[in-house]
Symmetry: C3
Subunit: 222 residues, 3 copies
């Protein structure tokens, strides 16, 4: 599966479904959260170091391929790494989003632009634009090591980052989980309970008696 | 007063009014906050341990009485303890809410369901569903010890938890405070100042002169 | 420039523009954030100590001049320093806002009132109203020392606090930055890229070759 197809398919599902398909997917620190509601971002990482200086951001905006996600390591600097202008340029250039282990600013402008921006919060001041430029190297991000080209996948629940192959290996399973859960949610909306839709009662009884058992949805809901 | 009546009356007032009626009511860590706006939750605690495993949640959803609040102790585990499906089942089963000292997921789905869910935030991955089941025991929650049957009362401002008797003992006073404050708010909306509505000036003068005094609203506003 | 004119001009720009005009402006801890969206606050600080007791707040509401911002130091106390009633009285009295290094309560009421309130979050319980009154002294606030009369300027991105003279010295520059950036944002909205609107390419090349260079917008956009 090519990267374009992978990202397009990720865009149609939830991050939580991928995490269910592969329980060991690397998840970022949940304090890095979307700055606007109801967003999904999926794309290859273009990494940037922005420790109090934003020339790397300027360089990245000029060289990242459309569809990329800028993955910004602020190195713990308290100043904003992106505002409305960078978000606007990223949107104009067709980038998929900007995710920052650090702060952003111009929250109103970012919301107006509509580009998915994830950060630890907002602060009004930003760094210099002097350099040096450090882009395209592995960076620390939200407790993970992110390499250029790793795929960033995020929504309201948070961010996962992994090699494209690893995500491609489980996306069929994630899509199947979504179909099953959509059926379950639909059945629940019409009044059917979780215990009728799953083997919960049998599973609990089996565990009580020390018998092996796996929790799951009844096949009729599959 | 029976529990049903207590919870129905709590539902009509603010948590802050109960905290004014009893200044020593136990308040949870404010980092545990509602995941949707404009919610109120009031009900007896059904406690669950969910330290990286959700079988206790499944068991709790099958056995908690309608009106209960699932009080979930994640033991500091970084994975989500509830998503859309558990929230949907809780709503279907008539539970009053789910409060988590830990994380949830499926924020969009939880908001769609509309059940009050409180948590430290969202993260996309969840634990196993293998067991053991630990429910109905005292748990640590947001800095408090919560026992099964304690009443959980929360709104946009946060959560208090206390024995039903303790809340029942002060709810009359809390309702009276709300009536007084509603009158004050109404008077302020028409331009009357806080100093005219309270004994603020006299109270400040008395304190200046070392005379005992208690701040309060003028009886005409009561 | 008098204080009234300064605050009126601040009200029409973003905090981030002032931070660009003076990169060393003191910025508060970003965990102190607005409790309602799309707010701007600008006014001289009226300082209050409220370490578990709110008589200082009552005194401040009775003596702060219209246009003032109550700057509240909770001394780390976990209880709320302001709710709907104090916010309502502040609005009625023509104050510009309440900023709290600590917690507030009555979030729904505060949003109804519409006064800009900044805090670390919400919690339902508040302190006593017994005294002593400590107002009008220098306070610690979000990592800064704030003196009475310092100007507080905040919006969705956060808060800066500085002497009026210091802000007055750079507001022309901040307004010029806003005009330039508005032109840039407009050009970008019609499809022109950041690289065409700035000297980004030349600046990056100069830095690569060790030549001095300053990043900036092209004069045609100024």
């Amino acid at each position: 599966m090519d990267l374009h197809e992978l990202c397009a398919r990720l865009h149609r599902i939830q991050v939580s479904s991928m995490c269910d398909a592969d329980k060991s997917l690397p998840v970022c620190d949940p304090l890095i959260r979307p700055m606007l509601a109801d967003v999904t971002v999926a794309g290859p990482a273009f990494t940037v170091r922005a420790e109090g200086d934003l020339l790397g951001m300027v360089a990245a905006l000029g060289s990242a391929a459309p569809g990329s996600v800028l993955v910004v390591d602020s190195g713990g600097d308290p100043r904003a790494c992106s505002g409305e202008l960078f978000a606007g340029e990223a949107a104009r250039a067709g980038l998929a989003g900007i995710v920052i282990d650090g702060f952003c600013r111009d929250l109103r402008g970012i919301r107006r632009v509509g580009l998915p921006v994830f950060a630890r919060g907002a602060t009004p001041n930003s760094g210099t634009i002097s350099g040096p430029v450090v882009v395209g190297t592995p960076v620390r991000f939200g407790g993970l090591e992110v390499r250029p080209g790793d795929v960033v996948f995020g929504d309201d629940d948070g961010l996962v980052v992994a090699a494209a192959d690893r995500l491609a290996a489980v996306i069929d399973k994630a899509e199947a989980i979504e179909r099953t859960e959509a059926g379950v949610a639909e059945a629940m909306a019409t009044g059917t309970g979780l215990y009728q839709l799953t083997n919960a009662a049998e599973h609990l009884a089996a565990r009580d008696h020390g018998r092996p058992s796996t929790f799951g949805y009844r096949s009729t809901t599959g």
